[in-house]
């Protein structure tokens, strides 16, 4: 039963993807219906899979000596992420029904979305690193296709290529780590890697650990690869909510959480993870302060919150990072979809032109405020519990100065979140914008996510029990929700954090409201636009790759004789290698 469900959770979206393409762009109503139906089915499937969580593989298919066997393991980590991907995925698809109405190439859009949902489920369920890599690359490809969905817009095309190339750096890291593991262990199974990590020579293990850290940083848009995510905001907004906030960018967090027990003994690994998380959280929080594009501001805050999760893993808090991942997926999807409703209604992403939209769009305003309060980390909302839990873990097992900087990042988060909310929904009308109605499908998706933002923290006990039971190698303990509430409310650090948030809000109330509309100092703007200088590094990677590709294009002359020469050269090389290895 578990085997069928795990296969179906990948298979249903993929089947839906093919069907949507087959139906064709002349029947948009059918395409909408099929996409919603299949994504909902996969969501239900993932929720059913919750009942079959175990650390044993549910599918074990022997392929060949080179690939090993394809194993799918429905353990707590994998199933919780699958559920997030499919449930948030189906809500994003539902939202798309209104958002993408009237688009010409719906088939391509829904195909990529559904293909992505299936691949994301495969990525987290796979117990074989090689297949994790395959699914990882499929998600990168879908992300590229969807960022560049409006392929007549040069900005969208450039953003897509940048995202693709920079996440490829991560893909190479993952593949290099997996191959290095294979060369020593003779297996791609993650379980083998975790169980026998101590038997590996220290340099090999360090290589795998840092290769995986690079993979995770590139995929999750962490320092120093944090610049692709803001440029990826050219994608249609449901895509930003699904891929670039709730699911794909979590793949890096997943990889670190999955493999962290194996790497704990590697010198400087935990310190590096802590540093990557902290720098990302802090830098992008600064960058969000000056952003004027609504979606870019949200993208910066996504990187910042992902930084919190990476920091939590570095501090040894796997449960804390997964808990924040769940909360973040829900409230950031809510924020993005609300932003999408606003952008759909007014037709601009520039926050300076918005203002006082709360009067005309009360439903969206309320949804956005719920998300914003969760992002700020105010009590009752899910973001509060998970962020405080991370800070609590950080105080216990990371250097004090890092904890203080993370606290500062929390204060900055509160500041930029309120700046964003105030610029869009409050203040005075600054531009005559024609406001469209919000569709029913949009309202359903927003309402469900807002409900989730209030309630998902109640799932903490279940999540922690699932993780502890099905991940024996991580050495986790079960904690109940009540215990978490008690521990957090009695910890002084929670109140310190709340104090920082309150101080930041006070500061916003006094100076921020006026400062929000005036342009920030030029040096600060320049600094934040160049990602504190790291934009250059990322641009260098992208332009280097593109110019290499241009050079390689010379080899594709299309002339028969040159191709024959290439074939002959390859043949002779193979013969020479065979000759050399035989003698």
């Amino acid at each position: 039963m578990a085997g069928i469900l795990t296969l179906l959770v990948i298979g249903i979206p993929w089947l839906g993807a093919v069907l949507v393409l087959l139906v064709g762009d002349k029947h948009p109503r059918w395409q909408h219906a099929l996409a919603v139906g299949f994504s909902l089915l996969s969501g239900i499937d993932a929720l059913l899979l919750m009942r079959f969580i175990s650390s044993a593989s549910s599918v074990d298919l022997w392929l060949s000596t080179a690939f090993g066997s394809l194993t799918l393991i429905p353990d707590g980590l994998a199933v919780s992420l699958t559920a997030i991907a499919t449930v948030v995925g189906s809500l994003a698809v539902l939202f798309s029904v209104d958002y993408m109405r009237g688009e010409k190439q719906l088939g391509r859009y829904y195909f990529l979305v559904l293909f992505f949902i299936g691949a994301m489920a495969g990525l987290v369920l796979s117990g074989n690193l090689l297949f994790t890599f395959f699914f990882w690359e499929i998600t990168a490809l879908c992300s590229y296709g969807l960022i560049s969905f409006h392929n007549d817009d040069p900005l969208a095309v450039r953003g897509g290529i940048k995202a693709l190339l920079i996440t490829q750096v991560g893909g190479v890291g993952l593949l290099a780590g997996a191959l290095m593991g294979y060369s020593q262990l003779g297996s791609f199974q993650i379980i083998e890697l975790l169980a026998r990590a101590n038997t590996l020579p220290a340099p090999t293990l360090a290589f795998i650990a840092f290769a995986f850290l690079i993979a995770a940083a590139a995929k999750s848009a962490q320092f120093p690869f944090h610049t692709w995510l803001p440029d990826a905001m050219e994608a249609p907004t449901p895509i930003s909510a699904l891929i670039h906030a709730a699911t794909m960018v979590n793949a890096g967090i997943y990889l670190l959480a999955r493999c962290s027990p194996a790497f704990e003994s590697v010198p400087y690994w935990r310190e590096s993870v802590l540093a990557v998380g902290m720098i990302s959280a802090l830098l992008t929080a600064f960058m969000a302060l000056t952003a004027t594009d609504l979606k870019r501001a949200l993208a910066y805050s996504t990187v910042s919150q992902l930084g919190y999760m990476v920091y939590a893993i570095g501090a040894g808090g796997i449960v804390a990072s997964q808990f924040h991942l769940l909360s973040h997926a829900v409230f950031k999807a809510l924020l993005f979809l609300s932003a999408g409703a606003v952008i759909h209604a007014v037709g601009t992403r520039d926050m300076r032109r918005m203002g006082a939209l709360g009067n005309t769009m009360p439903f969206v305003r309320n949804a956005f405020i719920v998300g914003a309060l969760a992002l700020t980390g105010l009590p009752i909302f899910n973001g509060f519990w998970s962020k405080e839990y991370i800070l609590e873990v950080g105080l216990e097992s990371s250097p004090l100065w890092m904890y203080l900087l993370m606290l500062l990042a929390a204060g900055l988060t509160a500041f930029y979140t309120f700046r964003m909310t105030w610029l869009v929904f409050f203040g005075s009308v600054r531009d005559s914008l024609h406001v469209h109605e919000t569709g029913t499908a949009m309202k359903i998706a927003l309402g469900l996510l807002a409900f989730g933002t209030f309630t998902t923290w109640l799932l903490f006990g279940g999540l922690s029990a699932q993780l502890a039971e099905s991940l024996p190698q991580h050495g986790l303990h079960t904690e109940s929700t009540w215990h978490l509430v008690e521990a957090l409310l009695s910890a002084p650090s929670t109140w310190v954090a709340l104090l920082v948030v309150a101080a930041s809000l006070m500061l916003f109330y006094i100076v921020g409201r006026r400062a929000a509309l005036t342009a920030p100092p030029a040096w600060f703007n320049a600094l934040s636009e160049s990602s504190f200088g790291f934009e250059l590094l990322n641009r260098w990677v992208v332009s280097g790759m593109i110019s290499l590709a241009e050079r390689l294009r010379l080899t594709q002359s299309g002339e028969l004789n040159w191709n024959i020469l290439g074939i002959l050269a390859c043949l002779l090389t193979v013969l020479a290698v065979l000759w050399w290895s035989a003698s």
Partner: protein
């Protein structure tokens, strides 16, 4: 034995050399034939060396049939190309731009 091996290598050599330097479509079909004849000879030779002559010969017969079809289709295409473009020079009939 060595004579056959030299024959195979010579046929391969002529075939590949021809493919490298020819631009005429009909000549390409001809050198392709020479190349495949080398392959057929190699199949029979390998069958004999491996002690399973029957397998080598039957595979060779299959290849001969398939190869004849290739030659026929190739020549028919050459005729059509000549009628349509007025030339048999392969680089000249290439219309793909890249």
């Amino acid at each position: 034995m060595n004579v056959i091996l030299i024959g195979i290598l010579a046929l391969f050599g002529v075939g590949f050399y021809g493919l490298l330097i020819t631009r005429n479509l009909i000549k390409i079909v001809i050198v392709l034939q020479i190349l495949v004849k080398g392959a057929v000879l190699a199949l029979v030779f390998a069958g004999k060396m491996g002690g399973n002559l029957g397998l080598g010969q039957s595979t060779a017969a299959t290849v001969i049939v398939a190869d004849t079809i290739v030659a026929v289709v190739g020549l028919a295409l050459a005729v059509q190309v000549r009628r349509r473009f007025g030339t048999l020079d392969v680089p000249k009939i290439s219309t793909l731009k890249g």
